[in-house]
């Protein structure tokens, strides 16, 4: 049996760990509520853009734009959204596994795809496996501003416009609730699902519908990337909160168990001492 001191040391170190995980849990909880707010503020912007695009698309079917047209896919761009650090349960590995599976399924050589990695975990993963990486972002803030990801988003959309890639897919954790995040794979461009939004009113277009689409569609695609990123951030905080919560609970269980065996060991030591004294006294009689 471990000595009393050994057990006491383990209890101490476990409760220190518990303090840390508890603190991280609370930090993530407060970041989560902020991230949810950000996502809400953003949704107003994206709904509005969607509405206008849907209006143009539904009013006039012969308006065309390269970003609305599906072309033969020779090269695919993947945007993956991961965190900069671990300790978030399966948050990072879910995205990376999905990327790995998709690439294995769809591509035979590294010429057929390229990865735009957001987050250190994603960047490291791709480097280690020698995947082609077009662009990386590390050290994104917990509450990212649009300006921060504007460059990477417009680069990605630009790659599509220059026909360097023929489709752009984003893989990220969709935020369902604080305890549930689901890996989502969405095709950003070509833009396909705008018909789902109901057209509400008809507009005059100044100067022309084509001109407006030219401005609007890249702006829309970029905003979709930002939207996914906001949601991924909310998921990250939620995942980290859950992971830290279960770590705290585990530490609690462990401390209970250790305290029990500590008491048992102490009781055993006392009993032994008494037996020895009684034995000694008996020997003297």
């Amino acid at each position: 049996m471990a000595s009393l001191k050994d057990i006491q040391d383990r209890i101490n170190s476990t409760s220190k760990t518990k303090q840390i995980t508890k603190a991280m849990e609370m930090v993530s909880a407060s970041k989560l509520s902020k991230a949810e707010e950000n996502a809400k503020r953003y949704s107003f912007y994206s709904n509005k853009i969607q509405e206008v695009i849907a209006n143009i698309a539904s009013n006039n079917t012969d308006v065309t734009h390269p970003m609305l047209q599906r072309r033969e896919v020779k090269k695919t761009g993947y945007i993956i959204v991961t965190a900069d650090s671990g300790l978030a349960g399966a948050y990072n590995s879910n995205v990376l596994r999905k990327l790995y599976q998709t690439v294995e399924e769809r591509h035979t050589s590294t010429d057929e795809y390229t990865v735009i990695a957001i987050g250190r975990m994603g960047v490291d993963f791709c480097r280690k496996r020698n995947m082609p990486v077009a662009d990386t972002v590390i050290g994104l803030q917990d509450q990212p501003k649009y300006a921060e990801i504007k460059a990477i988003a417009s680069n990605a959309v630009q790659m599509y416009e220059n026909e360097e890639i023929d489709e752009l897919i984003i893989i990220y954790n969709q935020f369902v609730s604080a305890i549930s995040q689901v890996v989502q794979t969405n095709t950003l461009v070509p833009i396909s699902n705008i018909d789902s939004v109901k057209a509400t009113s008809s507009y005059e277009y100044e100067p022309s519908e084509e001109q407006i689409l030219k401005v609007l569609l890249p702006q829309y695609a970029e905003s979709l990337i930002y939207g996914a990123l906001l949601e991924a951030k909310a998921s990250e905080h939620a995942a980290r909160m859950t992971a830290m919560k279960s770590a705290t609970d585990n530490a609690d269980d462990l401390i209970d168990e250790l305290t029990l065996s500590f008491n048992r060991a102490r009781q055993a030591a006392i009993t032994q001492e008494i037996t020895e004294i009684v034995g000694g006294a008996a020997a003297l009689e």
Binding site: Y42, Y45, E206
Partner: protein, 132 residues
């Protein structure tokens, strides 16, 4: 006096929402003035100031591109970034202006001229709005 509701929205949230008597802005093919009761309209904007009038006073908002959606009683401006005159960080804009001007002057073949010009426009727009 009839008014119309103007709201300026960016991905980072709403910058402004208030009632005004008139809005004038610079769209891609010229100056636009909008009064209450305008027909529904969509137009892309240039990097410029949007002027909002109310009770003989004028508020300025620096809008960086984006577009404008008009309905009879409501105008929505959707832009990647926008600031009210009072929210502009002039020092930062001055620095951005210098940086962009230097990039353009250096004639470095690696410079993304389009992007530098846009950055310069944005900075000048902010400075102009802040100083009015």
């Amino acid at each position: 006096m009839k008014t119309l509701t103007v709201s300026v929205v960016t991905p980072d949230g709403q910058v402004l929402e208030d009632d005004y008597e008139m809005l004038s802005c610079k769209a891609e093919n010229g100056e636009l003035g909008i009064l209450p009761g305008h027909i529904p309209l969509v137009a892309p904007l240039t990097i410029n100031a949007v002027r909002l009038k109310r009770n003989n006073e004028e508020d300025l908002v620096a809008v960086n591109g984006g577009f404008l959606e008009v309905r009879p009683d409501k105008v929505t401006i959707l832009a990647e970034s926008a600031e009210k005159a009072s929210d502009i960080d002039v020092d930062r804009a001055e620095r951005a202006k210098e940086r962009a001007a230097q990039l353009l002057e250096s004639n470095n073949p690696d410079t993304d001229v389009m992007r530098a010009k846009l950055a310069l426009n944005r900075a000048m727009n902010r400075i102009n709005v802040a100083k009015n």
